[in-house]
């Protein structure tokens, strides 16, 4: 029983820690998130193609 209690407290603590981590993150606009996305794919997709794909994706998100 004690083991379960300790495990439960640990789980709660870890969830709280995760939430704190998320809360401490810099809040980004969608524009900034798209910039990060472009950077993270810079090695696989050339800049011009990426710009086209992002433009298409933004317009598709309007639907």
């Amino acid at each position: 029983m004690d083991v379960l209690k300790i495990f439960g407290q640990f789980m709660n603590l870890s969830m709280i820690m995760e939430n704190i981590e998320v809360m401490m993150e810099e809040k980004k606009t969608v524009e900034m998130l798209f910039d990060d996305l472009k950077k993270s794919h810079a090695e696989e997709i050339d800049e011009e193609t990426m710009e086209i794909i992002i433009a298409e994706m933004i317009l598709s998100m309007l639907f």
């Binding site: 969608v30 798209f34 317009l59 639907f63």
Partner: protein, 388 residues
């Protein structure tokens, strides 16, 4: 491309291209307008096809080995379900009974007070204000949002690769041109469809006309610029598809002020850059035909949903190539003989002088929108009877 299919493809493309230029091709081109009809005809699941657009090819291969066509309106898969799944939201569409249906929801996410921000920078407004309201997960601005955006990107990228492959397969293996290279829109229709909803734009036109006009102006420029970046090389026989929605629901005076200038503006931008524009004229445009005189000279193709096509061609055939004529209600409920009679009358009245493309008055969405036997018989008849 196999040489026979390549020859067929070239012949078909030339047929459309001459018609777009309001010239006379070797025969009247037959355009097939549908979304899920071939999918249902081949017993495939709409849901599976939306997840994997490559499955369309199976449907196209079977359907068009049985039914003659010169070209397809589009590939029929505009709404990308997997992209929206990543955001836990279906957008403005939902798949019901095997058909992708529009549900007006966008008006929930923009109100009149947002106009200033939209006018100031439409792209920034879309990204930083509109999307976080539409997709809650993007409003957090943290790793959850980044994760969702990345998943959506992967889904979009995968869908895009498959769609490009499907285009190539349809054109190269089946020899069937897919006319629409991209679907575009302009200010008033964008505001109605994506931002304010029908009730919203009608209210805005009456209460905040200056805001509506300015927003229409900036949106027309912004979206057209994005579209021309995406589809950056005009090609003969292919077009930018623009469905027209709001126009005919406005009274003539409002049409002149709040719709026509933007329609003319977008037509001028595309035709000046040598694009062919295909307008899908939803509803009855008969009362508005006099305005077509202001259309720029260029390759414009108009598909008419309602109205007397013979009268339409007589009145505006000098300004654009005319398309339509075959009511899907007759393909669904008429006999073969009745359908062929209609097709014969349409060809007799509209084909002389060229600048005409035979097609249905509406998109065929479900299997009930047209009986296979009727469609096959009509297309065979037009292919033969429509020779110039």
């Amino acid at each position: 491309m196999y040489s026979l299919k390549k020859e067929l493809y070239t012949q078909r493309l030339n047929r459309f291209n001459l018609a777009f230029k309001r010239q006379i091709p070797d025969r009247v081109p037959i355009l097939f307008m549908s979304e899920m009809w071939p999918v249902h005809h081949c017993g495939l699941s709409s849901s599976d096809v939306l997840k994997n657009p490559l499955l369309y090819f199976e449907a196209f291969e079977k359907t068009f080995s049985e039914i003659y066509v010169d070209g397809l309106y589009s590939l029929g898969n505009l709404w990308i379900e997997s992209l929206f799944e990543a955001f836990n939201n279906t957008g403005s569409y939902v798949l019901t009974d095997g058909i992708v249906n529009y549900e007006e929801r966008n008006s929930y996410y923009m109100d009149v007070s947002d106009y200033d921000s939209l006018i100031k920078d439409p792209l920034k407004f879309m990204l930083n204000e509109f999307f976080p309201k539409k997709f809650e997960i993007l409003s957090y601005g943290d790793s959850r949002s980044a994760h969702a955006l990345n998943e959506a990107f992967e889904a979009y990228h995968d869908h895009r690769q498959k769609s490009i492959h499907l285009f190539k397969q349809t054109e190269n293996v089946l020899g069937i041109p897919v006319l629409a290279r991209t679907i575009a829109s302009f200010g008033p229709d964008i505001l109605q469809e994506f931002f304010r909803g029908f009730q919203g734009v009608i209210t805005d036109i009456n209460r905040y006309p200056e805001l509506f006009l300015e927003a229409s102006r900036v949106l027309t420029s912004c979206i057209t610029e994005m579209k021309m970046k995406i589809y950056n090389t005009p090609e003969d026989g292919h077009c930018v598809m623009i469905p027209l929605h709001l126009g005919t629901y406005l009274k003539p005076k409002d049409f002149e002020t709040f719709y026509l200038p933007f329609l003319i503006q977008v037509l001028e931008i595309y035709t000046r850059a040598d694009y062919t524009v295909c307008l899908f004229l939803e509803n009855d445009w008969t009362p508005y035909l006099d305005y077509f005189e202001a259309f720029p000279k260029g390759k414009i193709f108009g598909i008419f949903e309602y109205g007397n096509l013979y009268e339409i061609k007589k009145r505006v055939g000098d300004y654009l190539c005319i398309g339509g004529g075959m009511p899907i209600s007759q393909l669904a409920y008429g006999t073969e003989a009745q359908c062929i009679d209609t097709a014969k009358r349409v060809i007799d009245e509209c084909a002389p002088g060229g600048g005409f493309i035979f097609t249905t008055d509406k998109l065929m969405l479900s299997l009930e929108d047209g009986r296979f036997e009727n469609i096959r018989a009509v297309h065979e008849f037009v292919h033969d009877y429509g020779k110039y």
